[in-house]
Each structure stands twice: as structure tokens, then as C-alpha cells.
Amino acid sequence: MKTAVVVFPGSNCDRDVAVALEAVTGRAPEMVWHRETELPDGIGLVALPGGFSYGDYLRSGAMAARSPILRAVAEQSGRGLPVLGICNGFQILTEAGLLPGALMRNAGLNFVCRDVSLTVENAQSSFTSRYDAGETILVPVAHHDGNYVADAETLDRLEGEGRVAFRYAEEVNGSARRIAGILNGAGNVLGMMPHPERRIEKAHGGDDGRRLFEGLLELVA
């Protein structure tokens, strides 16, 4: 499968996600600079990596969400292209309006950097099909602005429609209803604060993140 990773100035997990995609797909992804106006032809997935796009100036993800490439990402996602936003990528997706809500400063004000337990809430999506619903997995987080906020009506809708993909098994950052990752209505856009690409082989201390990428491969293959 051909994939793409968008590179913003300040992204620092673009290589990590590229390594994960290559390990799973057998093919290095195309790295797409943020000022490009189109995505490569024939890709089966675009990933928005973690990091600090544009130095997190103004708000995390705000500048990246208004970059030229995001117009192409938004348009292609509307046509069903799978989009995976990890950490800063999740912040970008909410800022771009492709996912509801917003990510605010962690409730404890600390940068949280450690492995956390996640509960897989929805194992039906193309991103989570290799997991079992209710399964607990261990995936690292590393963020300052991971406190997910949305109004009660939006939260009820996300839960009611099975759009909460992952929930923190423990309190991590103050996120509403301990939400760690959500899907869009069509199920082809996933934003999550934890970093599955940092846990794809035993040398990482575990490979719980790998199945997310394998599930995607299965979808597109």
C-alpha cells in the first residue's frame, strides 16, 4: 500500500510514523511538505504526525490546520481517504474541523510522557479492526495539550455513534470522559493523542500499536 506522511515545520514524529508505515506496508511512505497543495496519487492513507507544528504558536495545530496541504487532506477525506492524526495530528484535525471538539492544556499542567493503558472502545473501525472491543492495550503518550474538550451534546453523540475509538483506562490529562481518540462520522478519520507508532515492535517494549497499522493495511489491500 502506498501511503503519505505530511511534514510540517516542527513535526518531530514524522520519521517515527514513516518507519512504522514502512515496517507494516513494506514500502516507505511519501513525505509531503506542508506547502504542497495536493496529495500524491493513489495513496491509501495519509498520516498527520505528532510534534509541534509551527512551534505550537497561537494554539496547538492551529497554523497547520490552515496550511495548503490541509485543504487537500480535507477534500480527500471527504471522498473516503483514511486519515490518521496522531498527537499533534489529532490537534490539527480538530482545528481543521475534520473532528469535533478541541484539545486544551493538560488539566495537571504537566507534560505527560509515559506509557498509558487504553481501552479499545470500538473495534469495528478500519483503524481498530485488529483489536478486540474492551481490550486494554499499552501505548505511550507524550503531550502537553491532550485534554479533550467538547460540549455534552457532542460527547453524547460521539459515544452514541461508537465514535470513541480509545479511552484512557486511567486519568491522564483531564480529557472529557477520558477520551483518547475519536473517529469522524464516516469512520475514515481517526485522531488520537497516544502514539501507536512508538510501540510497533518488541524492542519498543511491546507492539500494541502495530495492529493499528496492520488493520489499515488490511482495509486498503
Partner: protein
């Protein structure tokens, strides 16, 4: 024309930075602080030809995240 854009969190949105300031003031012995909210001030210098609708669009499209923030435009 100089503008000041005041960006504040909407009421009801938890403000962890504000909470930290509130606690720090209490720690310094200042009694009676019943709340603190942290906002942003953005100063813009724009040509006189820029109209109100354009300024408002700047706020809605980029400067404020209207999911969690309100904005107020002040002409300096």
C-alpha cells in the same frame, strides 16, 4: 489602524492555567481571589481598507478557536 483582539475561554471551559494562578495567589496569602482565567491578546496593525467583516473573519478562521474561545475586537 491598530486593533486589539482579546481572546478568552468560553465560560464553563476548564482553564487549568487560570486554576494554577488562582492557587498560586492563594499560596502567596492573597485572600478573596474567587477565580482566574487566562486569555490572549493579539495586536494587529491593519490597513484602513480592512473592513469589520474581514477582521471578524480573521478571528473566526484563525485567531480564535470558537469551539472553546470567545473573541472581542477593540480599536486602539
Amino acid at each position: 489602524m491598530k486593533l486589539r483582539i482579546h481572546i478568552t475561554l468560553k465560560p464553563g471551559v476548564l482553564d487549568p492555567q487560570g486554576k494554577a494562578i488562582e492557587h498560586a495567589l492563594a499560596g502567596l496569602g492573597f485572600a478573596g481571589v474567587e477565580g482566574a482565567r487566562v486569555g490572549k491578546l493579539i495586536e494587529l496593525d491593519v490597513a484602513d481598507t480592512v473592513d469589520d467583516a474581514q477582521i471578524d473573519a480573521m478571528c473566526r478562521q484563525l485567531l480564535a478557536n470558537t469551539v472553546i474561545e470567545n473573541y472581542r475586537i477593540e480599536r486602539a
